[in-house]
Amino acid sequence: MASNTRIILICSGKGGVGKTTLTANLGVALAKQGVRTVVLDADFGLRNLDLLLGLENRIVYTAQEVLEETCRLDQALVKHKQEPNLALLPAGNPRMLDWLKPDDMQRIVTMLTKEFSYVLIDCPAGVEDGFKNAVAASKEAIIVTNPEVSAVRDADRVIGLLNTNGIKPVQLVLNRVRPQMIANQEMLSVDDVTDILALPLLGLVLEDQQVIVSTNRGEPLTLSDNNSPASHCYSNIARRLQGEQIPLIDPSKEGSGLRNKFMRLMQTKIF
């Protein structure tokens, strides 16, 4: 039923922190768990979700034709071959931005809720119209950020806007975490970021070169059963979304050896 569908906005404010990669990987991971999931590319200006999912050559119609009623919804949806529980609703032409209104996004999402249990909306960067349209159609949100000052600042601004729009719950995914840098106190720690943003942590994703390899191929990491660090993190996030209690890994506890143990001791808070 429509009311049970979870409509989750995946946003960050700043560009390039990993929204689209998270959307693609979560979509695949949820579909693998047997839930009907649709990923909606709300980034009409700079669409990329199709590319990360390897579906760019299979697009016939887009959200634009659905809204113009020149095609049916099921004609525009691109079903993933390996994961039939997953579908993509591609973004239309960038010119859509000229006329697209919050109501249009709501209409599209309402149509999707009839067939899917999860609607993941890949939000454009920024806080302008594209963001506002996407927010209007969403119920809950995942904020993606990196342990970097500019990404955290922009995330904070977006959290404020989501709060005033009544989006609930808003959860945090900390992306591109480098445990060794945190151990050396050269990167904001997980606690630093959750304290500053005052959000519950849905999960963290370790920095992983395999992410680039997987985007080269258009096969999200969660698609195969490889056990790369980021893939593991993405799957855990999907399972937590589904209500499973999976303990968070603590990057400061990663890595053994005398040096790591010593650096951990040095991080003890005295006052």
Binding site: R157, N184, Q267, I270
Partner: protein, 95 residues
């Protein structure tokens, strides 16, 4: 402050970049979140004092109106020591 930061301080070394990032973020966010200019805050403070002093006599020198942010909630905190109630005085005058 962590053990490492204390050792670094004792050795006269630079503060770790993570704690520098933390400090800078906390400052810039406190400013971002309130979105109120100092002039506007001052005007609000004066108007609040004006209204309150219609009803009670307050110690203007001791009074403070400020914004405090904690856990994403920004609160307007007014601390206005009351010298005496003006209403009571007025009613006594009337008798």
């Amino acid at each position: 402050m962590t053990l490492l930061e204390i050792v670094q301080k004792l050795l006269g070394r630079q503060q770790s970049s993570a704690s520098k990032a933390r400090e800078r973020l906390q400052l810039v966010l406190a400013h971002d979140r309130t979105d109120l200019s100092p002039e506007l805050l001052d005007q609000m403070r004066r108007e609040i004092l004006e209204v309150v002093s219609k009803y009670v006599e307050i110690d203007i020198d001791e009074g403070a109106v400020s914004l405090e942010t904690e856990d994403r909630m920004t609160a307007l905190v007014a601390n206005l020591p009351i010298k005496r109630s003006l209403l009571k005085v007025n009613s006594q005058d009337a008798e």
